[in-house]
Symmetry: C2
Subunit: 501 residues, 2 copies
């Protein structure tokens, strides 16, 4: 078998697996958006069955033989070619897969499915005890997974690496500290400044909210014929397959900005998804996202860098006023100030840009302690509340508003949270670079023309797939190694514009 | 390996396959109800990938070994035990599966997925030419399938047998002729009788239609926590998995009865589905439907025997009047007459009970000719129109109202249509038997109590799964071999009540 033949076999195998992943993605989307209440146990079995098939495919010894035939051949001579990138990334995936026993992979998938359902009910009933055994199972299985994957100094790193290749807890901690220092500094400066005026009171008609969302997501560039917008308890974005990116939101009649920024955020994810599966490499690593932080950079860029900016609201304020009569007298400037207010709160997904990263620090420290067994599941609510007071200055009155607020741990996604802050950092790096590349970007945005920005992102990030490791990808797109500096600059500039400090 | 061990292995294999079938069912449901327009090609690939996996599992040589170890053992000593029935039916499935090459199974699944999409567009555009190549492909693949399966005298029988075990075209034809004679006779008798008054004009508010549907389907016994009701171009019912039966409808503001009877029909299917998967044998033949005609008997029983009866409307007319103000003065008797009118029309799914079977005769004769190669695809529209004139006395003005009206052939479902008329026949047999078993059934129905009927069906049909072959199942439930006589009696009694003939 020649290296080329082995490579073709590798890719055919990868493409067929992608079709099974698509079915799994649909089972997951449907569980959150459509599934009848009595069907959750059955759904966990279905997810388990496909996960087992997928896992067996991922560990197929033939993969190892094909990879060995490719590695060191002319296909890997130039490291940035699609062939070399696909071989490198399929090797990474294969080496990870063979380390995880099938029984563990299936147990994790089933525990995630039942855990998510238990979390939904527990959050609704504010009943941490009902969720605790599920969390314990997920934690035990995740520790087992970390052991199976292996690590140098920290079990947590094995899990983090699944979301963010190459990152380690020891490298994340100082970056988060930098963001915490910046947040503390900004909060201190604005303490005595007058807060910006709130937006007019609701109710904001739900049908009008949906209309505005569909208008704005299409304006940004999400094609209605390649996407869906639905309602779910926890907003999310998922790619099912080519031409099929789905986002969800939840509507609050008192405050249209929750669904609005949530949907713009998920639209950023969806644009990335459609971009990397639309580059001609679908079903292979070259057609896959680079990492979770890179994914988050795309959602954050549209949500924060774009949709909280003055140029954006110069175009969108009239559209919003056409949907909501109470906004008739609200200027774009007032809108930007209202949606840019810095105000520590209990809920991560409602947090402003500055205090958002404090929520990540809270979770990162707690999940690190859980994985290290320094914190018991039973003690999580107390530890959460203490840390929340210390970091945010607020103690949640209920677990539903505290340690039960996020879906992640209910699916076993330990090591995921830091990618949010990394994503914020990458978003700021990319938006600064896009601004250099597109000198009239503010004017274009004010005219409702988001195509230049979208195209810049598509060429420099979306279409690249997993061609480069995450940090290298951002460095290649921006011309410099990513740091927290652009994000800190952005947050300080915002505070200056809104609070005059 | 003991027979019991082999049996346990068989069942574990069957249950895991059921979870993959569930994922396939979801991919299919989603395609018709949710899928973004750009995602259809990808969806066909996903369906193809899972079909290939499923087909490989169905032909797994281990199945043959396990079956051989079971057959002739103590497990098959008494033919009606769950063990004996599961072994008999898994043998049937295995023997069928090994005859069909994987490439053909995948090609059929993909052609069905793309064919259905092409049909949707062709019907919308009234463009048979656009659909013709898809139909040709599906026909060629279906003939190939019939050859692979084998048959005695008629290729069509190999396909029919997939839907209705043991049935043959030669046995179906005289039964259909009996129904045709009855319809011709009834049409002749009522020709000069005054037609019943139509229901009041629309519009019938769509939201009110949906409200009534949800009320009535729940009243009949479809649990909202184990089902969904959605909108699709072609109404259908599908079981995804345990506790997850999904039905669809389409609303016509001019006529609420279309969605109403459609949804009651699909509810009958859904009740059967939830009944056979809820009998403790999910994932094995004992937890599967007996046949397509038995399935249809459940939908027809609720749609026609129940929901077009006077007792039903004695309870439901006030509910309908609460939804639609224009029904305030309509009596239950007037309702029954209006929804029981006999009037040949072009559209099968809108047909009355008497002329419905004429639509089946039309399709049965045409698909038999297509499979026999007595009719070319290009000549189908002309042949349809000629036969429609001869059988129904009507020529469709467009193909959209003629040979493009049904989804079935677009998914390669040749041999399916006769099961509709068999289902009508079985429904009448069962409703007569239920009436004997539940002497106060009319009074119960008039009081809105459908539980006795539902329970009788659940015990005698739903919970039986594939324990007995279809005709034997009906005979066991009713105490006599099924014939067309109860249906003909029912149709004549209806004509007498409505037209006084």
């Amino acid at each position: 078998m020649t290296a080329r033949e082995a490579y073709d076999a590798l890719l055919a195998h990868s493409r067929a697996s992608a079709d099974i992943i698509a079915a799994l993605s649909l089972l997951g989307w449907d569980q959150q958006v459509m599934l009848p209440a009595q069907a959750h146990a059955g759904r966990a079995n279905q997810i388990g069955a496909l996960t087992a098939i997928l896992h067996r495919r991922a560990c197929d010894p033939a993969m190892g033989q094909w990879l060995a035939a490719c590695e060191g051949s002319e296909l890997t001579a130039a490291p940035a070619t699609p062939e070399a990138a696909n071989i490198r990334e399929l090797r990474r995936d294969y080496d990870q897969a063979v380390k995880i026993p099938e029984a563990l992979a299936v147990a994790l998938a089933q525990a995630a499915s039942t855990g998510q359902r238990a979390w939904e009910l527990a959050r609704k009933d504010n009943d941490f005890q009902a969720f605790a055994p599920h969390l314990q199972t997920l934690l035990d299985l995740s520790r087992e997974k970390a052991q199976a994957l292996g690590y140098q100094t920290e079990a947590y790193d094995a899990l983090l690496d699944l979301y963010e290749p190459g990152e380690k807890a020891a490298a994340i901690a100082p970056v988060l500290a930098e963001l915490r220092d910046a947040a503390v500094d900004i909060l201190g400066r604005i303490k005595d400044a007058p807060a910006p005026a709130d937006l007019p009171d609701g109710p904001y008609d739900i049908a009008a909210q949906e209309k505005l969302l569909r208008q704005v997501t299409a304006l940004i560039g999400l094609s209605p014929t390649a996407s869906r917008l639905d309602v779910s308890a926890h907003p999310f974005s998922t790619l099912i397959g080519p031409g099929d990116a789905r986002i969800t939101t939840r509507f609050d009649p008192a405050d249209f900005t929750k669904a609005f920024f949530g949907a713009v955020h998920e639209t950023g994810h969806a644009l990335y998804s459609l971009g990397h599966v639309g580059n001609g490499h679908y079903g292979t690593p070259m057609g896959e996202p680079a990492s979770f932080a890179v994914h988050e950079s795309q959602s954050r860029l549209w949500e924060n860098q774009v949709a909280r900016s003055l140029p954006f609201w110069q175009h969108v304020t009239p559209l919003a006023a056409a949907c909501f009569p109470q906004l008739a007298d609200t200027s774009p400037e007032a809108m930007v100030k209202a949606v840019g207010a810095v105000r520590p709160g209990l809920i991560r997904v409602d947090a402003d840009e500055t205090t958002y990263n404090l929520h990540i620090i809270l979770r990162f420290e707690l999940e690190l302690a859980l994985i290290r067994s320094d914190l018991a599941v039973a003690d999580l609510p107390g530890a959460w509340n203490e840390k929340s007071q210390a970091i945010l200055g607020l103690t949640p009155p209920t677990d539903a508003l505290g340690c039960l607020q996020d879906v992640h741990w209910s699916t076993g996604a330990f090591g995921y949270f830091p990618t949010y802050s990394l994503g914020n950092i990458y978003a700021a790096c990319l938006f600064e670079a896009a601004g250099r590349a597109i000198p009239d970007l503010p004017e274009r945005m004010a005219a409702g023309d988001f195509a230049p920005l979208r195209q810049w992102l598509d060429v420099n990030i979306h279409a690249k797939g997993r061609q480069l490791p995450p940090r290298t990808l951002i460095a290649a797109a921006t011309g410099q190694d990513p740091t927290a500096a652009p994000l800190v600059r952005h947050l300080r500039a915002k505070a200056a514009a809104i609070y005059g400090v």
